[in-house]
Amino acid sequence: MALLEIQGVTRRFGTFTAVDNVTLGIEAGEFFTLLGPSGCGKTTLLRMIAGFDLPDEGRILLEGRDLADRPPEARPVRTVFQSYALFPHMTVEGNIAFPLKMARVAPREVPARIAAALEDVRLQGFATRYPHELSGGQKQRVAIARALVTHPTVLLLDEPLAALDAKLREEMQIELIGLQKEVGITFVYVTHDQTEALALSHRIAVMNQGRVEQVDEPSRIYGFPRTRFVADFIGQCNLLHGPVIANRAGVVTLDVPGVGAVRCAADSAIAQGVEATVALRPEKIRLAAEAPAGADNQFRGTVHDFLYMGDVTVYRVTTPDGARLEALLANSQSGRAQFFEVGDPVAMSWPLDAGHFLEA
C-alpha cells in the first residue's frame, strides 16, 4: 500500500463536480505532481489532503489510516501556500518556531531546530528579519522551512513558485529537487505549469475537469500521452485527427483532412473507418527546402509565420489544403542555413515512429 492513498474521492460544489472519482497512490519519498489547467480540481484535491475540505465520496488514507475525522491541525501534513502566508507580526525565527511550539517541542531544542531548518533552505543569518523585509524567493524559503521543521510525513506545495519571476523560479526548482532528495519527505506539488511539472517530478498526475487523465513519469507523459488532452496540454503538439484507412504490419494510416495520409507506427487493432489521432511533437518534424528521399511521411507547405525564440524557431506551416502544423527548428547550426522566411515553400517529413498514436 502506498504512503498516501486517495481512493475514489469525489467533491462537488453545488452542481459542479470539482474532483470526480479520483484514485491515486503516492509512494513514500516521492515527488508527486498534480498538473492541470486552472479549475481542474488539483487545488481542491490538495485541500482535502491537508484537511481544509472533506471528500463527498471516497477516502484518503495516510499510512493506511483514514484521515476523515482528523482536522488539519492533527494531520502530519504541512502545506506551503501560494501566497506563502507568513505571519507578518513574527520574525523568520518566530514563523519557523510556530509549528514547534504548537507541537510542544521542548524549548531548549527549538533554536537548534530553527537553525537546521534555515540551513536546509540556505537562509542562515535571516532569523531576526520580518517577512516584509524579505524578497519573494526568501519568503518562499521561509514558508518551506516552516513547513518542514516538524518533519511532516507529507509536504503539500500549492503553486509555490507561481509568484516568482522566471529566473528565480528556475533556481528554486533546482533547489526544491535537492531539498526533497535531502529531507526524503514525500512532496505533493500542485502546478498548472507543465515545464515545472516535467522538471521536478518523479511522477505526474495530469488532471482535467476533476478527473485524472494519466499518471506517469515525466518522460512518458511527454512522449506517450494517453489522451488527446494530455498530448495537447503537455508542451506543444500537432494533433492529426482522422479516420483510419489502413492498419497493417504495425503501421496505421489516417486520412487527416487538409494534410493527407499520415502513417504512424502503432500496436493497435483499430478497424478501418474509426477516427483516431496521431500526436506529433513540433520538434519531431523535419523541416527542409526539399524532403529527404524515402521519408515515411512527407508533405509540402508554406511558412505562414514563425516565432524566433533564441535557441529554437517555431514555424507554423500551412499545407496546400489549408491545415496548419507547427514545426520546430533548433538554431544550433552556425549561420542561417536553414532559416526560412514567411511565404517560403518548405517540405515537412517525419519517420513512422515520430508520432504517437491515440485511439480517439
Binding site: E73, V77, M90, R146
Partner: protein, 301 residues
C-alpha cells in the same frame, strides 16, 4: 500666474479655513483656559479683574495647589480613570466577538450589521441615557427579577438605579460602537490564508486566535480603546443622571466648577489635567500602535 504659485494658493484655499477654525475655536480657548487656571475667581463667577485696585496683576498658583494638596480631587480623578478603564475593557470584551462576527459574515449582510451597530446614534444621547432610568428603575422587570432572586437567598433588595452599576452599564452601552467600528475595520482585512496556515501548522482554534488574529488586531484594539477611554474619562451626563452621590467623575467636577461653584480657575485646572491625561494616553496608544506596525503587523486600525 505660474503653475507653482497657483498650486500653492490652491493648497491654502483648501486647508486655510479648517486651520483658521481650529485656531479660533480650539487653540485660542485652550490658551485662555491655561491662563484662567492661574487667576482668581470673580465675586459673582468668572474671573477677578486682571489688574486689581492695588495695581497688582492677578496671577497665582492657588487653584493648582488646591488640586494637588486636597486628596479628594485626585481621588475623584483616579476614580474616573478606574471607571473609564472598566468601561474600555468591558467594551473590548463585548465588541471583539461582535466585530469578528460581522467581519466574517457574508459580504451582503455586513453593511446591514454595521448599520445596526450605529443605529443608536440616530436617537439623542440624553434620551438613550434616560431610557436606562426606566430599564433600571425600581419597578422595572429587571429590578424585580434581580431583587426577587436576592430575596430567595434572604438578601435585602438592592437599588439598581443611582449606583456605580448603573453608571458603568450605561458607559459601556454608549461607547460600545466606538470599539466595534475600528475593530471591525481591522478584522475585516485579515487574510484567511494566515489562519489556514496556522491551522495547517498545528494550531487549534484558541491558538489561532491568540497567536495570529489577536496580535494582528492590536492596532484596532488600540484605536478602539482610545476612542472609548478618552470620552468615557470626561463624561458627566451619565453619572449625573444614573449615578449616586459616590459616582462623581472628573467631568461632573468640572461642570460643577463652571456652572454651580462658579470657580473658573479651578475648573480650568481640572480641565487641563483631564486634557493632558487624555493626550498622554492617546500618545501612548499611538506609540504602541506604531511599534506594532514596525514589527510588520498591519497598522490600519
Amino acid at each position: 500666474m505660474g503653475r507653482r504659485r497657483a498650486e500653492r494658493l490652491g493648497k491654502w484655499l483648501v486647508s486655510g479655513p479648517p486651520l483658521l477654525y481650529l485656531l479660533v475655536f480650539f487653540a485660542a480657548p485652550t490658551l485662555i483656559m491655561v491662563l484662567a487656571s492661574f487667576r482668581t475667581p470673580g465675586e459673582f463667577g468668572g474671573l477677578a479683574p486682571f489688574i486689581d485696585e492695588a495695581g497688582k496683576a492677578d496671577l497665582n498658583l492657588e487653584s493648582w495647589t488646591r488640586f494637588f494638596t486636597e486628596s479628594i480631587y485626585l481621588a475623584i480623578f483616579l476614580k474616573s480613570v478606574v471607571y473609564a478603564t472598566i468601561t474600555t475593557l468591558a467594551c473590548l470584551l463585548l465588541a471583539y466577538p461582535l466585530a469578528a462576527l460581522i467581519a466574517r459574515s457574508d459580504r451582503r449582510y455586513r453593511d446591514l450589521l454595521l448599520l445596526l451597530v450605529i443605529l443608536p446614534f440616530w436617537s439623542n444621547f440624553l434620551i438613550r441615557v434616560y431610557a436606562w432610568m426606566i430599564i433600571l428603575g425600581p419597578n422595572a422587570a429587571l429590578a424585580r427579577v434581580v431583587n426577587g432572586a436576592l430575596a430567595m437567598f434572604g438578601h435585602e433588595p438592592v437599588p439598581l438605579l443611582f449606583s456605580s452599576f448603573a453608571v458603568l452599564v450605561c458607559l459601556v452601552y454608549v461607547h460600545l460602537p466606538f470599539m466595534v467600528l475600528p475593530l471591525y475595520a481591522n478584522l475585516e482585512k485579515h487574510d484567511q490564508a494566515l489562519l489556514d496556515a496556522a491551522q495547517d501548522l498545528g494550531a487549534d482554534a484558541w491558538q489561532r486566535f491568540w497567536r495570529v488574529t489577536f496580535p494582528l488586531s492590536l492596532p484596532g484594539v488600540y484605536a478602539g480603546a482610545a476612542l472609548v477611554f478618552i470620552p468615557a474619562l470626561g463624561i458627566f451626563a451619565i453619572p449625573d443622571i444614573l449615578g449616586g452621590p459616590e459616582d462623581t467623575m472628573i467631568g461632573n467636577l468640572i461642570k460643577q466648577q463652571f456652572l454651580e461653584t462658579r470657580d473658573w480657575p479651578f475648573g480650568s485646572v481640572l480641565s487641563i489635567v483631564l486634557t493632558v491625561a487624555a493626550l498622554g494616553l492617546a500618545g501612548v496608544a499611538a506609540l504602541v500602535g506604531r511599534g506594532g506596525a514596525r514589527s510588520g503587523a498591519p497598522a490600519r486600525a
